[in-house]
């Protein structure tokens, strides 16, 4: 199976107690994550005629309804430049967040057979959930781009900030996802709690309206402490309306609060997950 030289190496390595090769471990971690993510992505709409195109249906159907209700009935689009494209972006990004977090919740339990039969760091599982969601997001973005152009919003150089925004969103979602998935192993209540929490977050996160000027001044600072709302405010300036105020302008130094929440939740999720991971397989 391996050359004699390789065997010698292995023996030498053996004498140094167990010396795991960090790089090889990291490579395996990524190979596993990617394989699980792609497999999951391919299988999600397995057997359906439209296949992966169904990923687009949910946000866009929702988009159509919302656009009609909030522009024609509620009139929220007053004073908001490119309102339609704003809610389209916000919807797609929020769908991404909710997909990562809610799919993470039960992910460890769902992958029980893997966790119990193979040695690998369980972090692969929430990571692969995030990667699958990123693949979906990439798909959706193609369609979003087409819509933007139809509505007259052309990409500008400001869009280069978009990956940064998505990275922040991913960090937040992943932090929450790791926390929830590890908690779910102990407490099955996490699932219904998170369903409700997501719903609340949806309405609290300015998906359907904008932080400025729709949200009253006296609440706006508190409102923007929600990192998702803050990211959306920034997204609005970046993507749909360069004249909209930036989140830095709106919050001043307090912009550190949503920033710290993102970093904090990611760190908390990672810490808790790593703390729980050695015993995850037996607690399932």
């Amino acid at each position: 199976m391996s050359a004699p030289a390789a065997e010698l190496d292995a023996a030498a390595e053996g004498r140094r107690e167990v010396a795991p090769d960090r790089l090889a471990e990291a490579r395996r971690l990524w190979a596993l994550t990617w394989t699980l993510a792609v497999t999951d992505w391919r299988l999600r709409f397995y057997g359906s005629v439209l296949g992966v195109l169904w990923t687009l249906v949910r946000p866009f159907a929702f988009f159509g309804v919302i656009l009609f209700v909030f522009t024609e009935i509620a009139g929220l689009d007053k004073d908001v430049h490119n309102y339609a494209i704003y809610i389209l972006f916000a919807l797609v990004l929020f769908t991404f967040f909710s997909e990562v977090t809610s799919n993470s919740v039960g992910s460890l339990v769902a992958r029980e057979s893997l966790l119990r039969k193979m040695r690998f760091h369980p972090i692969v599982i929430p990571l692969s959930v995030a990667v699958t969601a990123l693949l979906n997001l990439a798909m959706t973005f193609v369609a979003v781009l087409v819509f933007s152009v139809i509505f007259g919003v052309w990409p500008t150089w400001r869009w280069v900030e978009l990956p940064l925004l998505i990275a922040a969103m991913t960090a937040l979602a992943l932090g929450v996802g790791m926390l929830l998935s590890a908690l779910y192993v102990r407490y099955r209540d996490v699932q219904p709690i998170w369903d409700v929490a997501l719903q609340m977050l949806f309405y609290a996160s300015s998906v359907l309206y904008v932080a400025f000027p729709t949200v009253p001044d006296e609440y706006r600072d508190y409102f923007l402490c929600n990192p998702i709302a803050a990211l959306f405010a920034q997204m609005r300036r970046m993507v749909v309306d360069p004249h909209a105020p930036s989140v830095f302008f709106l919050m001043g130094w307090r912009v550190a609060i949503p920033g710290a929440i993102i970093v904090g939740l990611f760190a908390l999720g990672l810490w808790f997950f790593v703390r729980e991971s050695p015993r995850v397989a037996e607690n399932l």
Binding site: M1, S2, A6, E7, A10, A11, E13, G14, R15, E17, V18, R27, R28, A31, L32, W34, T35, L36, T39, R42, L43, Y46, G47, S113, L114, L115, R116, K117, M118, R119, F120, R186, Y187, R188, D189, P278, R279, A281, E282
Partner: protein, 416 residues
């Protein structure tokens, strides 16, 4: 044969003396805490914050201590729930030991079962890549080796078939073929040979032989005593988390069978019994090896069977008989004193008699049940006492020919 094995392992011991053991299991214990209430909810915790969670403790492993030399084929045998798979999972790093230490020197295969990550909705080809990546190959290596795997598994015609349309045997073949692609010095293998047809099993055996020749260390969990005796250099028997014995595979196989079948017989309810037992009754029946009672023998060993009768009335020329059934219920062998035209004599009330016969070891490896009988002289149909399946014997060995008996024979090949 046992001498040869011993010599071989001594030799290995000498040759590898300066090397550290491949696997050290140092006084490992593991206890599972099983909460009485399976699903703990926050509500419950909130309502009863002061009530301590109640657990049942399950001692899965107690102070297991063994070290396995590089290049050794080490078998772990035990009954269901004995803790053998838990031990393997601790070795693999999937579970964590509560006490003690496990050290593995060299690269360890990260899986303990075949076909981890197989997905029924994907084609065999895709599953190979997934499985190989799980086992530590890179995606590129996995793709490069796919053809070799398919070829080894002899599944060329089915490579594009979805796994859900595979038979379980085919899936195992695919799993095994992928598993041997992994580059590891220490392989952990849990129950590989449970499925698969005879031809493929043979291939697995060849692969094991090759691994052995390549000096790989293999830790092998199994129920299969044939495989244990055939491949293992040493084996360990565990029962309820305790190591009962570590030693030569043959001896371990014997102990395992004793544990299994010995207990089975003692716990069995009374089997069918015929005759009124007024004139005499059969007290006991058993098998013997070298003059001692046993419930198992190795293939080709001479075995005796015996039973003990107590007479309550005077009986002249009773007919003593033995009948032996195999595991599928075929009467494999039967004999009576009458058929052998043997005079048995006259027995008085209160007299105890032991009847014994000895046979050559021609029984093929499986389980046998002994039914002793006593009948009145004459037709032999007037049964005084007949007890079905009173004793059982497990014949174990390494060569399953598929035949019911191993008749002594010589081959002769004549040309022309």
């Amino acid at each position: 044969m046992s001498g040869a094995v011993l010599a071989k392992s001594e030799q290995r011991g000498l040759r590898l003396a300066p090397e550290p053991p491949a696997v050290e299991i140092d006084h490992v214990s593991k206890t599972f805490r099983l909460p009485r209430q399976r699903y703990s909810t926050l509500k419950e915790r909130a309502l009863h914050p002061l009530r301590a969670m109640q657990y049942d403790e399950l001692h899965a492993l107690n102070d297991v201590h063994v070290s396995i030399a590089p290049g050794e084929f080490f078998g772990i045998v035990g009954r269901n729930g004995s803790g053998k798979s838990t031990l393997l999972k601790i070795l693999a790093g999937i579970y964590r030991a509560d006490a003690g230490r496990v050290a593995v020197h060299g690269r360890l295969s990260p899986f303990i079962e075949l076909g981890v990550g197989f997905n029924p909705d994907l084609a065999a080809r895709d599953n190979i890549v997934i499985n190989a990546v799980m086992m530590g190959l890179s995606r590129r290596e996995a793709k490069a080796r796919t053809e070799a795997v398919i070829e080894f598994a002899e599944l060329q015609e089915f490579a594009e078939l979805k796994l859900k349309n595979y038979s379980s045997g085919m899936a195992v073949r695919l799993g095994f073929a992928t598993a041997i692609q992994v580059d590891a010095d220490v392989l952990l293998v849990d129950e590989v040979l449970a499925v698969g047809d005879a031809g493929f099993q043979q291939k697995c055996f060849e692969e094991f032989t090759r691994l052995k020749a390549a000096g790989k260390t293999v830790v092998f969990v199994t129920h299969d005593m044939h495989a244990t005796e055939r491949f293992c250099d040493r084996a360990m028997l565990i029962e309820r988390g305790d190591v009962l014995r570590i030693g030569e595979p043959r001896e371990i196989a014997r102990a395992y069978n004793e544990l299994n079948f010995g207990r089975l017989v003692h716990g069995a309810p009374d089997s069918a019994r015929y005759g009124d037992q007024r004139a005499c009754e059969i007290l006991d029946a058993w098998f013997e090896r070298d003059g001692r009672r046993t419930s198992e023998v190795a293939q080709h060993e001479r075995v005796a069977m015996a039973f003990r009768v107590r007479f309550h009335e005077r009986v002249a020329e009773p007919v003593f008989g033995f009948s032996l059934r195999n595991d599928v219920g075929h009467t494999f062998f039967a004999t009576t004193t009458e058929q052998r035209a043997m005079r048995t004599g006259t027995f008085e009330p209160g007299e105890d008699v032991t009847v014994r016969i000895e046979v050559d070891g021609v029984m093929s490896p499986t389980r046998y049940e002994l039914s002793p009988s006593v009948a009145r002289a004459g037709t032999g149909a007037d049964t005084l006492d007949l007890r079905e399946d009173l004793a059982s014997l497990h014949v174990h060995g390494t060569v399953v020919t598929g035949g019911l008996v191993d008749l002594p024979h010589e081959f002769e090949i004549v040309r022309g």
